[in-house]
């Protein structure tokens, strides 16, 4: 039984990515954000199952987790769950549906969506800079523009005591400014 469990556990472990997949996150390092620069080595294994590698940058001497800058950063969820949540969100499942499918709390999905959204913008901007935009090597030559109509619910108007307090506070503040 124990053997089966360990086998199952080892098969569930995510694949290890090569060191060329990572870059130094230290902003003061000369090799900051340079992939496959040959400056990284594995310092130690950490985490509950020793599945997370701590990397060492030879250029600046920084040690950092291989999860830094990824969607797994600061999360206690297993990687498979994070991937499933991202897949659900990528195919347009609602937050409640995603939470139900992945068996997590809806607030966890909300937090992950926020983190993933902000990171997606950074990821996109970083890669747009790598597009060639010279006259000799044209990158994008034709662009189509269009609009898409969508709706966002109106913010609910505050009712009751809090609304009254807010109104009084705004009135007082306006009176003093």
């Amino acid at each position: 039984m124990a053997k089966e469990y360990t086998e199952q556990k080892s098969s569930q472990q995510p694949p290890e990515f090569p060191l060329s997949f990572f870059a130094c996150p230290n902003q003061d390092c000369p090799d900051f954000n340079r992939f496959d620069a040959g400056n990284l080595s594995i310092a130690e294994q950490m985490g509950k199952d020793k599945a997370i590698r701590r990397l060492y940058c030879k250029s600046c001497g920084t040690r950092f987790s291989e999860r830094q800058g990824s969607l797994m950063e600061h999360t206690k969820l297993p990687e498979s769950t994070v991937v499933r949540i991202i897949k659900c969100l990528g195919y347009g499942c609602s937050i409640e549906a995603t939470a139900d499918i992945c068996e997590v709390d809806p607030r966890t999905v909300e937090k992950l969506l926020e983190k993933a959204g902000r990171r997606a913008e950074d990821f996109h901007r970083i890669h747009l800079e790598r597009l060639p935009s010279d006259k000799l090597v044209p990158g994008l030559e034709a662009v189509q523009l269009d609009e898409l109509h969508g709706r966002v619910a109106k913010e609910p108007s505050k009712k009751g005591r809090h609304a009254l307090l807010a109104r009084v506070a705004s009135w007082v503040a306006r009176g003093f400014t």
Binding site: I86, G90, A142, G150, A153
Partner: protein, 237 residues
């Protein structure tokens, strides 16, 4: 070859400011001085937004016989910019009667020739983007028609769209691209990424980089007229 790469998704009202932001994203990506072909529908703010971002200064002559006040300079489209418009003709009830095309900036003949040269079609069209809109509506319930699953918060919609854009560009093989993803066609990726790869990819952005991006966008949003009319600072001792 058509790459189907999504450059930007902007969420906002249908105003000139949103249009300017969108066109500025195109300018950041392609460069303000590179020859480019823009294809769009007849959304009213587009011409003004394109002129604002890509336009050059047009100096005008004085009025009759050199008398009177000097005319203020305006903006003119650059000679390397080609822009075509798809116009939909509708009746009073909104039913579609037909579709016509026209040139907004540049010659119609040049635009058609460029479209055929790039292999986007035979005439001015926005078919690729209309198809993408269909995919987006199908894959994001928040944007589906006649749905009650709309976003309660605007930021949630933006984050979902940004995430979807990245997955579409990097992690979805496309039938019309021979199983490649849009990033592969542009040479940014060597294979179609898995969601695990995307999730584990480390994204590090320095503060300096962020400031550079903000400056880049401000520069892109600054028209040639703004630069021309900017007050020069007096030399100080």
């Amino acid at each position: 070859m058509v790459s189907r790469f999504i450059i930007d998704l902007r969420v906002g009202p249908r105003t000139l400011d949103t249009a300017k932001e969108l066109v500025a994203s195109v300018a950041i990506c392609c460069g303000k001085t590179n020859p480019i072909l823009l294809l769009m529908d007849e959304h009213l703010p587009y011409p003004a937004a394109i002129l604002h971002v890509f336009g050059l200064i047009k100096h005008r002559r004085r009025r009759k016989k050199g008398r009177g006040r000097k005319c203020k300079p305006t903006l003119k489209p650059p000679p390397w910019l080609l822009a075509g418009v798809v116009k939909k003709l509708r009746d009073a009830r909104g039913n579609l009667l037909g579709v016509t095309t026209g040139a907004l900036f540049g010659r119609l003949k040049d635009i058609r020739g460029r479209i055929q040269q790039l292999g986007i079609g035979c005439k001015i069209n926005t078919s690729h983007l209309e198809r993408l809109n269909g995919t987006l509506r199908g894959q994001q319930t928040r944007l589906a028609r006649r749905t009650r699953n709309i976003s309660r918060l605007g930021c949630m919609l933006i984050w979902s769209l940004w995430l979807w854009r990245d997955l579409y560009n990097w992690a979805r093989p496309h039938g019309s691209l021979d199983g490649c993803c849009p990033a592969m066609v542009l040479g940014l990726a060597k294979h179609v990424w898995t969601v695990l790869e995307y999730s584990r990819y480390p994204v590090h952005v320095s503060d300096l980089q962020r400031r550079c991006w903000v400056e880049q966008r401000e520069d892109a949003l600054l028209s040639a007229l703004d630069v021309y009319q900017r007050k020069k600072s007096l030399p100080t001792l």
